[in-house]
Amino acid sequence: MDWDLVLGIARFVVATTLLLLLTIPTAFIIIQMELKVIALMQLRYGPNRVGPKGMFQSTIHGFKVLAKEDVTPDLVDRPTFTLAPWMVFMAAAMSMLVIPFAPGLVAFESSISVVYFFAILGLSVVGLLVAGWASYNKYSLLGGLRSAAQMVSYEIPLTLSIVGVVVLTGSLSFTQIIEWQLQHGWAVIWQLVGFPIFFIAATAEINRTPFDMVEADSEIVAGFATEYSGMRFGFFFFAEYVSLFIMSAITVTLFFGGWLAPWPFPAQLEGFIGTLYGLFWFFLKTYLFVFVAVWMRATLPRVRVDQLMGLAWKVLLPVALLNLLVTGVAVVVFNLSGVQ
């Protein structure tokens, strides 16, 4: 009996289960945050009735969605219609596998976790497109097509901006990128152009305001989700917020030192305490970016669909390429590469 293999499988199953379970409170917390923060920014009180200080509002929403009737319209393509929410949700949940939460706390350690992450995350566009097509509704189809166009477009500057970090650190592993940042400081300092591109593209990639063309309710009802109800809609909703969490986590990992504290003291704690310390910083920084996303939603109006594409192809892409060139030259000239 190969105990290593058994242990590995057991570890993987436990980790996956934990991550799937983690999505539930994450989504609830972010939704609650969104309700409350936007309300406060709009000079309202926001939810304040359910639970202490209205804390359980989003949870109640979740239960409500569960209790609702799940309607399947007559003319939809049943297999794909059923499959689409699952695909979108799983794409989000699976990409969580490679996120390092704390030193040694990563579900699936891989030397090419960056590639894995973006490959899996890109799957969600398939889910949205399928949802739009299967719904037999022109609004859904428009939403699906918009999501395809938008996500495919923004994936390019998104990926290119990461290549800068990868070139800098010489690694495709999130863990090693964080370790590089331990030595050289946060990557954002080295990637002053790369980070804004990444941030904008990431916002568009997860369909957040101001790039939420996919479900622009004033134009196409609810986009791909128009015909969905009950928990199937809930899956889309969940996936959206989980994606937000993941994108914030990746932003933190790639540019803000992941689980590293913002200052070196106390340099690195060991053992269980070290893990908790890392977790604390990781979640703090991640939720900070979640807050920024919510903040943006409270502030910015939606861009027009024609402006959206122009931004990706005419601005972000050239700037990202330039950034990559400068980074590459700098790495060679100053011998900055993390490769030993």
Binding site: M41, L43, W295, M296, T299
Partner: protein, 281 residues
């Protein structure tokens, strides 16, 4: 300073400040707003303890409605039936209650039809049947009814609507257009022609003379109920301009003096008739 995208940060700063700003929402059931002493709550049609509608059909709301969307019918505080319809919608409100409440001088309204105006229902039904009960003969039926009652009583219109099985609104709508009388007139009706020909020929002065003579304005009745003064353009004065119509006869062209004389004549004739009637009984 025109940094591209600078507005985004400006906006973000504003929303961030608002995050900590005092909130404006009122927590309604716990926090009650300070209402003015004279606040009377939302306008609603409510009932008094005796089950009577509290709306007195004062037309105040209709008068101030800028798009004239409000109209009503019902009973005023004196038990008079007030109708909705053309005179109220598209003309000045002549209901004294409306005038009084609007702060205008009000005259008693004595010539209003009572809501229980008795009519000869079988006769009306007969008229309707005589025309085959077809809606295109509505105007002819109205003419017949007005000939008998001097105006179109609401109940008669209801009977017409029932008998022809067409909508009440259609009947009333057709009756509202074309110079039918929806309220009974009092005494002799003096109609001063208001067509353009009469106006150019001095119809205005004629109306003023008659107003002064009778002591009433247009659309009013004298206190003794002997005369009602009106204006209408259907006198069709033409070559007779300026003309008046006394009950059914058209007189013209008239000077103010002649018009006054006509009124005197009519009065004298009435007095003679009264005396004769008294002698006979």
């Amino acid at each position: 300073m025109a940094i591209p995208g600078g507005g985004i940060f400006k906006g973000m700063a504003t929303t961030f400040r608002n995050l900590f700003a005092p909130k404006v929402t009122r927590q309604y059931p716990e926090e009650r707003p300070q209402m003015s002493e004279r606040w009377r709550g939302r306008l609603d049609l409510i009932y008094d303890p005796f089950g009577e509608h509290k709306c007195e059909v004062c037309f105040q709301c209709a008068q101030v409605c800028p798009v004239e969307a409000i109209d009503m019918s019902g009973f005023d505080s004196q038990g008079n039936r007030i109708r909705y319809g053309m005179p109220e919608i598209y003309d000045e409100r002549t209901d004294p209650n409306a005038h009084r409440r609007a702060g205008l001088p009000a005259r008693p309204m004595r010539n209003l039809a009572r809501w229980d105006e008795a009519i000869d229902e079988p006769w009306v039904r007969g008229v309707v049947d005589g025309y085959g009960g077809r809606p295109e003969s509505l105007v002819a039926i109205f003419t017949a009814v007005q000939e008998r009652y001097g105006y179109l009583p609401e109940r008669a219109l209801r009977v017409v609507s029932d008998r022809m099985t067409i909508h009440w609104a259609q009947v009333f709508g057709a009756a509202g257009l074309g110079g039918f009388r929806l309220l009974p007139a009092e005494g002799h009706v003096i109609t001063v022609c208001s067509c353009a020909a009469c106006r150019f020929a001095g119809g205005d002065a004629l109306l003023k003379e008659l107003s002064a003579e009778l002591g009433i304005g247009p659309r009013e009745s004298t206190d003794d109920g002997a005369f009602t003064l009106e204006t209408a353009d259907d006198v069709g004065a033409g070559a007779l301009a300026p003309a008046i119509r006394l009950d059914t006869l058209v007189y013209g062209p008239l000077t103010g003096e002649q018009a006054r004389h006509l009124v005197h004549e009519r009065r004298r004739a009435d007095v003679r008739a009264t005396v004769r009637a008294g002698r006979a009984s």
